[in-house]
Amino acid sequence: MSTANSETISIEQKLAVQSIRRFLESKTSYDVLPVSYRLIVMDTSLLVKKSLNILLQNNIVSAPLWDSHTSRFAGLLTSSDFINVIQYYFSNPDKFELVDKLQLDGLKDIERAIGVRPLDQGSIHPFKPLYEACCKMIESRSRRIPLIDQDEETHREIVVSVLTQYRILKFVALNCRETRYLKRPIGELNIITQGNLLSCRMHTPVIDVIQLLTQGGVSSVPIIDEHGRLVNVYEAVDVLGLIKGGIYNDLSLSVGEALMRRSDDFEGVYTCTKNDKLVTIMDTIRKSRVHRFFVVDEEGLLIGVLTLSDILKYILFEEN
């Protein structure tokens, strides 16, 4: 009886995933956009510290850049750019003047100086299938992809919008009824990142945590207590708040102290267990601005993480 049941569930899940994939193939990035929306763009000659204020003011964490000399799209400004600057300043404390006067078009020099490979963001035309946009994001290991089109008259690039993995998954959660058939426990699906999980403690210096973010190429580092229980998380976007006021003077803080800078509307840390189902996960994505789920056991011990790209990869490539 129960085996027959789980077999049905497996088949249903498989069909549902295939159906969602077809949905992603049939829709375009353009379809995800609201009928009317705003897009904040920054000129590359803007000072980095000003750009930070603009992000915080507008309550966003990234923005496309525009090179007014070439009239071209010049990549995305994301939290990793600020992390680069922090790391640069930390190892070159004498370069305050440079950091203070740094413009957005100077970020490439910083990347070079600290030996970070520039992220290949890639971009996609808004009318290409959503599926393609997803694949590009997975390939380039980026969490967002700019939508670029050409102006019909001048043939110049126009930045239409930027899609994130979150927005795409939320779009799926909102519009695909099939998600309700995703009833297999996520532990069975082999999609959780387990073992070798980066983590830190509350008293770890925040600069070390920032180091971890770049080393691991991750968007967050879980904070655990002495028993290995999950207590909080430090996210890449938290660095925006960290360097908000005075510039880069608080790098000696512990991560626990740094978290005090977090704004009050922090969504919280989302956890799940191996027995949770994707339907619940998708439901949570639909309702909340969540970017990853930490997988814990019954005692709250951290055993893994389920990121949005893990979920996306599963939908894109599994259950064939």
Binding site: D31, V35, Y37, R38, V41, S45, L46, R177
Partner: protein
């Protein structure tokens, strides 16, 4: 008949109910034949002429539901932004073909037998401003309804199955020009059609939308003609003209998409047909003779009876469309449960078309200038804000 009446009553006593009108009941209800002015009332153009309709008879009207007892309370529309955005520039494939008889309103289909509705209709002209739009669902199901911004998202309108085409349902709606968003309810599930343009709403829900433009300039001309005529003959039609001009003014002022939460209140139910108007070369006396003008506005104020003591006569500080800058309304934290722009994807209200391609600017702060411009991108609107330093 009695059946229908009790149905009516139930509705009038229970306006807040999301009523479900099922076409399968159409046979029972088809005998009433009492639906008057179903179509006309939805026209914003007939604001131009209320000759026989004293203000008292005005009422909140939805686009499709004429009866007072069927009125949804628009103030309660949750997140249902509606769009007054008149768009005459792009011809939509969904633009109603004017050859269709406008009698095919929802109610006509639901409550009148074809014969009756035909007879009813022959006495009326198609109402300008509303355009018959065929909405088709072709993805199966047993019971199909449509709900959308045109009913304040509170009503479900049943679609009728198309004979010989299983899984295909259709309905003809009378909709004013502008953008309308809607979804289908197929066997109790909210769905969207894969065959119609889609967009996400403020909450990120996937909705179909159609942009309805006037099929011919004829309608527009007619409207202008009316407006002019209304202004031209204030003396001959002392009651009608003021109301019309006032309504027109109100429409322009309130016609911002942003406050469309109760926007439908502007669609006053018109009961009578408008006469035919013509252009004239003469400048209306109301514009040349101060005494006529005074008379005109005094009448207008009395008609309004709104105790504003002519305060509305003061010219606005700004052109009306500038009073509602959608960027000023944007507040990422305002929507409960939707903190941050990443969750609502930076969605904005639909801009009024007159603000497109204008450059807005902030004051310069900290040597940084922010300019913004709303442009069309295909069938959507991008409000791009560019931050740049002063060189």
């Amino acid at each position: 008949m009695g059946n229908t009446h009790s149905h009516h009553h139930a509705m009038s006593e229970n306006i807040k109910d999301v009523s479900m009108v099922d076409v399968s009941d159409a046979a029972d209800e088809s005998k009433t034949g009492s639906q008057k002015a179903i179509v006309q009332s939805f026209s914003k153009l007939d604001i131009g002429d209320h000759g026989a309709a004293p203000p008292l008879q005005r009422r909140r009207s939805t686009l499709i539901f004429d009866d007072d007892d069927d009125m949804p309370r628009h103030e309660e529309n949750v997140g249902a932004k509606t769009d007054l955005d008149e768009d005459h520039t792009s011809q939509d494939e969904l633009t109603g073909n004017s050859s269709e008889s406008s009698s095919a309103s929802v109610f006509a289909q639901q409550r009148m037998s074809p014969d009756e509705s035909q007879g009813e209709q022959s006495s009326r002209q198609p109402s300008p401003g509303v355009i018959p739009v065929e909405i088709t669902w072709q993805q199966g199901g047993n019971k199909v309804y449509v709900t959308g911004s045109f009913t304040g998202w509170r009503k479900m309108i049943g679609l009728a199955p198309v004979a010989d085409r299983p899984g295909v349902f259709h309905i003809k709606l009378q909709l004013p020009t502008g953008t309308h968003r809607f979804r289908f309810i197929v066997d109790n599930e909210l769905r969207f059609s894969d065959y119609l343009p889609t967009a996400t709403d403020q909450m990120g829900n996937f909705v179909n939308y159609i942009e309805i433009t006037a099929p011919e300039s004829q309608d527009t001309l007619q409207q202008q003609g009316q407006d002019q005529a209304a202004a031209v003959h204030p003396k001959q039609k002392p009651k009608a003209a003021p109301v019309s001009a006032r309504s027109k003014l109100a429409l322009q002022i309130e016609g911002e998409p942003d406050d469309m939460g109760d926007g439908y209140s502007r669609f006053h139910g018109g009961v009578e047909l408008k006469p035919h108007y013509e252009y004239t070369q003469d400048i209306p006396a109301v514009f040349t003779d101060p005494s006529v003008m005074e008379q005109y506005y005094l009448t207008l104020d009395q008609q309004q009876n709104n105790q504003q003591n002519l305060s509305w006569l003061t010219p606005p500080q700004l052109p009306p469309h500038l009073e509602n800058v959608i960027l000023n309304n944007y507040s990422p934290n305002a929507q409960a449960g939707d903190s941050g722009s990443e969750n609502n994807s930076g969605a904005l209200p639909i801009p009024n078309h007159v603000v497109l391609n204008h450059l807005a600017t902030s004051s310069i702060k900290h040597n940084t200038l922010c300019v913004a411009s709303i442009v069309r991108y295909k069938r959507k609107y991008v409000t791009q804000m560019l931050y740049a330093p002063l060189q």
